[in-house]
Amino acid sequence: MNIDQVVEAALLCSDEAIPVAELVRLFEGEIDRRGIEDIIARLCSKWEHSGLELVEVSSGWRFRTRPAMKQYLDRLNEKKAPRYSRAALETLAIIAYRQPVTRGDIEEIRGVSVSPQILKMFEARNWIESVGHRDVPGRPALYATTAKFLDDLNLKSLSQLPPLLESESILG
């Protein structure tokens, strides 16, 4: 077993950077820091022309992928684009088209209760915000869409949302 191979395997299998002082322990102290540094120098040049590189970071040495690899490796990690549930999209549509609305308004239009998670989710994404309170018992928050919502949907203003006049034809 070649000493370079041991250090290489240790670095490839570690999910954290390993300091030289730690690598010394691989050989129970039989190889000193200088020896480890020599091994690292050899490994650096061995990996010079490959998809990975051996780099020193604050906490020690570690392998990492070269940035040029990203475009390829990203293709493996392609996840299915997440989608919002119908309930979420309808809630968003109501806020966009009927703003400012309270949660009660949304529930009245949808005919079912609206989970607070949906509103929180869109608030967290900074797509909706509370712009005031309706002066009725409970003082419910009035929700409206934000500028970020428009930006993210590539709209200049709400008036660029698709018009809904066609709804008459649906209703027949």
Binding site: R62, N77, L89, Y97, R98, S157, L161, I170
Partner: protein
């Protein structure tokens, strides 16, 4: 040295008639994985033929063992159940065979089948343990991808919203269609704008609602938005004196 207490009586020496050598008793009960394991141990220890077990012998050894063990341990119910089974098999074997019943099953058959199956699994367990195992015997490299993965959020296009709305309308079979056209939508946009201006403030001046220089059309829409806010009781408009300043007040302020 007290080896055990039986019925409160201290036993100094191991019983002499015990077929199990004392060293076997040194093996704590926990080393056996249950009565089948113990039976296999006894069969092996005494070179009994598993396919032709001498029930008298096996039962006596098993009983002796659990009697001794019982004095030291809380014995699991499975061991006692097995004792009952062994005695039952032994007694059935004492009964005379009926020559006329051809397919009379050897009372030991089921026990033998179980012992063989257990022995197979016991060996398989040892072999599994002998195989190379991730983490124990080898590691899997996992080099960091050196870029931060941003969680991908669902993307929405404006047509999704339209479809969602149309779906709602269709589902609700609204008799009174919400005619939300371009104009009305911009009214609602301005309603939101006025409410945003009111945030954190008790009131604003009427003029502040309007974005001067945005053109007459926008001013009219803003005015309609203000009227709509009043109609929906979201704001109130007040004027203290004739020709005095007009204030737009958010209704949530008391």
């Amino acid at each position: 040295m007290i080896v055990a207490r039986v019925h409160g009586e201290a036993i100094q020496d191991l019983p002499q008639d015990l077929y199990i050598p004392p060293e076997a008793l040194e093996i704590v009960l926990e080393t056996f994985e249950g009565p089948l394991d113990l039976l296999l141990y006894l069969i092996r220890k005494h070179n009994l033929d598993i396919l032709d077990i001498s029930m008298a012998e096996l039962t006596r050894q098993y009983m002796a063992y659990i009697e001794a063990a019982k004095a030291r341990h809380e014995l699991a119910a499975e061991y006692l159940l097995m004792a009952a089974l062994l005695v039952e098999i032994k007694s059935r074997m004492l009964l005379p065979k009926h020559a006329e019943i051809e397919d009379e099953v050897d009372p030991r058959a089921e026990l033998v089948r179980r012992l063989l199956e257990y022995e197979k699994m016991k060996q398989a367990a040892l072999r599994l343990d002998g195989m190379e195992q991730a983490e124990r015997d080898f590691l899997i490299p996992c080099v960091d991808l050196d870029w931060i993965e941003m969680p991908e959020l669902p993307s929405v296009i404006s047509d999704d919203l339209k479809q969602a709305w149309m779906g709602l309308v269709a589902r609700a079979k609204l008799t009174d269609p919400h005619r939300v056209g371009r104009e009305e939508l911009s009214i609602r946009e301005h309603m939101t704008g006025i409410l945003k201006k009111l945030q954190g403030r008790d009131f604003i001046e009427f003029e502040e609602c309007f974005d001067l220089g945005s053109g007459l059309a926008v001013m009219i829409v803003t005015f309609l938005a203000l009227l709509e806010l009043v109609r929906e009781s979201l704001v109130s408009i007040s004027q203290a004196d004739f020709f005095g300043s007009i204030y737009v007040k958010a209704n949530h302020e008391y």
